[in-house]
Assembly symmetry: C2
């Protein structure tokens, strides 16, 4: 059996089974945004990601600084999704020997600036040569006081909430790949920016966890359908999302029209929004949403509710009927670029 046949989720489940229960002091092992380990004081959060040139980024559609910033944002987002604070970053960089040092400088500048903006610092790593493509492996260590907020605690009846807007990054990518679809530069710019320079929701994640009422959280890297599926699987629940409630911005709607796509499809199956998807008891949801919006300036939308597992994960239209959506992103099933 090949990895393509097994699929990404199949592989992760297989690894989790073979590794067995996590050892002492490990609060969260494989299968969440970050691993969590009990320290003698704060809980440590550990996350790592590898980005390959030509797969996760292209030097033709983004500058080195943008590539560095986005790679860092994606990793910081994993710490944000546990409600933690990113602290220290290791960067293992493999690059062709013929690369200009100025490009390496820019790559690091992008990583550093993004890390510093969220309270983290580059403190170590490794450099080596790659015969062809740039390979960027980041590890972020975060801290959280007390237990992190995982994917596991959602309960039937909980409200489903999401920060910011959905679909903008996917629209931006489609525009970049499709020569702009005839949109004016000023209409494309914010969407292309959403794709190139996502903002990890670190402050928002911290507030959501500190509220004490949120029951589960994940960051939206693979797309709402896939990532909500992770919460459903890990929590042992189902979910019902109202497509009409999804926060899809006007620019994304215009781009969807120009691209001939449904805007909600960009929001549901498009990846890399790096917004936070979380759950909270229905009675507390609006208060929590209002508090996060007030303290961070980031809007929070209530988009659906957690249901019993038997109901599955459904996306419903205005008529209340379920609309079939594609699965989440599977790295091994995809061809070509994923971001």
């Amino acid at each position: 059996m090949t990895l393509k046949e097994l699929g990404e989720c199949g592989l992760i489940e297989r690894l989790r089974r073979r590794l067995g229960p996590p050892p002492a002091r490990v609060l969260v092992g494989i299968g969440d945004d970050a691993a969590a380990v009990a320290g003698s004081g704060a809980t440590l959060l550990l996350t790592t990601d590898t980005l390959l040139e030509g797969v996760h980024f292209r030097t033709t559609t983004a500058t080195s600084r943008q590539i560095g910033a986005k790679a860092m944002a994606a990793n910081l987002s994993d710490i944000a999704a546990m409600g933690g604070e990113p602290r220290w970053v290791l960067v293992a960089l493999a690059v062709p020997a013929g690369l200009e040092v100025a490009d390496v400088d820019e790559l690091y500048a992008g990583m550093e600036e993004m890390a510093a903006r969220h309270g983290a610092a580059l403190i170590g790593g490794d450099t080596s040569a790659s015969p062809d493509r740039i390979v960027l492996a980041l590890t972020v260590v975060g801290e959280v006081e007390g237990p992190p907020l995982t994917r596991r605690g959602a309960r039937p009846g909980d409200a489903i909430l999401v920060t910011g807007e959905l679909g903008a990054a996917a629209a931006g990518l489609a525009l970049l790949e499709g020569d702009g679809a005839g949109l004016a530069p000023q209409e494309r710019a914010p969407l292309e920016q959403a794709h190139r320079a996502p903002t990890p929701r670190v402050r928002e994640g911290r507030l959501i966890r500190q509220s004490g009422v949120a029951t589960a959280m994940i960051d939206l890297s693979d797309g709402l359908a896939g990532d909500l599926g992770h919460i459903a699987t890990e929590s042992g629940v189902g979910a019902r999302v109202r497509l009409g409630a999804l926060p899809v911005g006007a620019a994304t709607r215009r781009a969807a029209a120009a691209l001939g796509q449904d805007p909600w499809r960009l929001a549901v199956t498009g990846g890399e929004d790096y917004e936070l998807l979380f759950t909270a008891p229905a009675a507390e949801a609006d208060g929590l949403a209002a508090r996060v919006a007030r303290e961070t300036g980031t809007p929070v939308s209530r988009i659906g509710e957690i249901r019993p597992a038997a109901d599955g994960v459904a996306f419903v239209g205005d008529d209340g009927r379920a609309v079939p959506v594609g699965a989440g992103f599977d790295h091994f099933a995809a061809r070509g670029e994923t971001s």
Copy 2:
């Protein structure tokens, strides 16, 4: 300027300069075997490495299990070189979708076994697809009670010591690449094993640090010349090593003869021995060496002494004259396989 022109050490120095002094709580930043961060209890050690198929390993000369074990050993060795205990491992794996799941299982089995043997556990990571080569990025988090043993504390007059034997891994690699050089399989096997399955000196490193007398330590990944150079640079000292004192085993000597090479050259410039190179005041060196050998069964050899910086780093023959040796391994200058 390209990376090839700047060189690996130049790049690391450049990164260190641009990042400036490490932030609060960071005891050791860029430029040692691992970064070190003050926790509320133990000090955290953080190290990461990326290995690329075709550069750092080949699936034609090693099994998936061996590749996994060696990748893990190299990372555990960085924790050992600080005197720490490896605890938690993150694995970011990018693999072609057509790879057999059985190979991925073996890769993880090799990593797990090696980690478990030294008290560490895989607790998280990331999986994604690579269009061509396997990319394996490991991060190991270790702990140490009190300050780690760095590359910085060597003083003129200190003795230079090394665990185990040198040159065996380089001899094994040369035999694997050169069709065995006419040696019998039983003569080649231990050397090829040294190349394929190095042992990180975790217990030895812990004892050396706990002794309280060792002044600096590094693991031998790039070769004695290069790695001793790192201690010299970081400590602001010179060094004098007696080639005749280098622990080169009989099998390595036979292989060197068959390969038409000087055995000491394999020991000085060959990489990947993953032995520990450390320094201690002359009066304490023999006692420390004896204690480590007694408690771990690993021999320790006294191979030279630390000198003032003005003396440089010299390797001297039996006649007391300095012998010119090549520089340490530079990833950006090398062509083809490095391990």
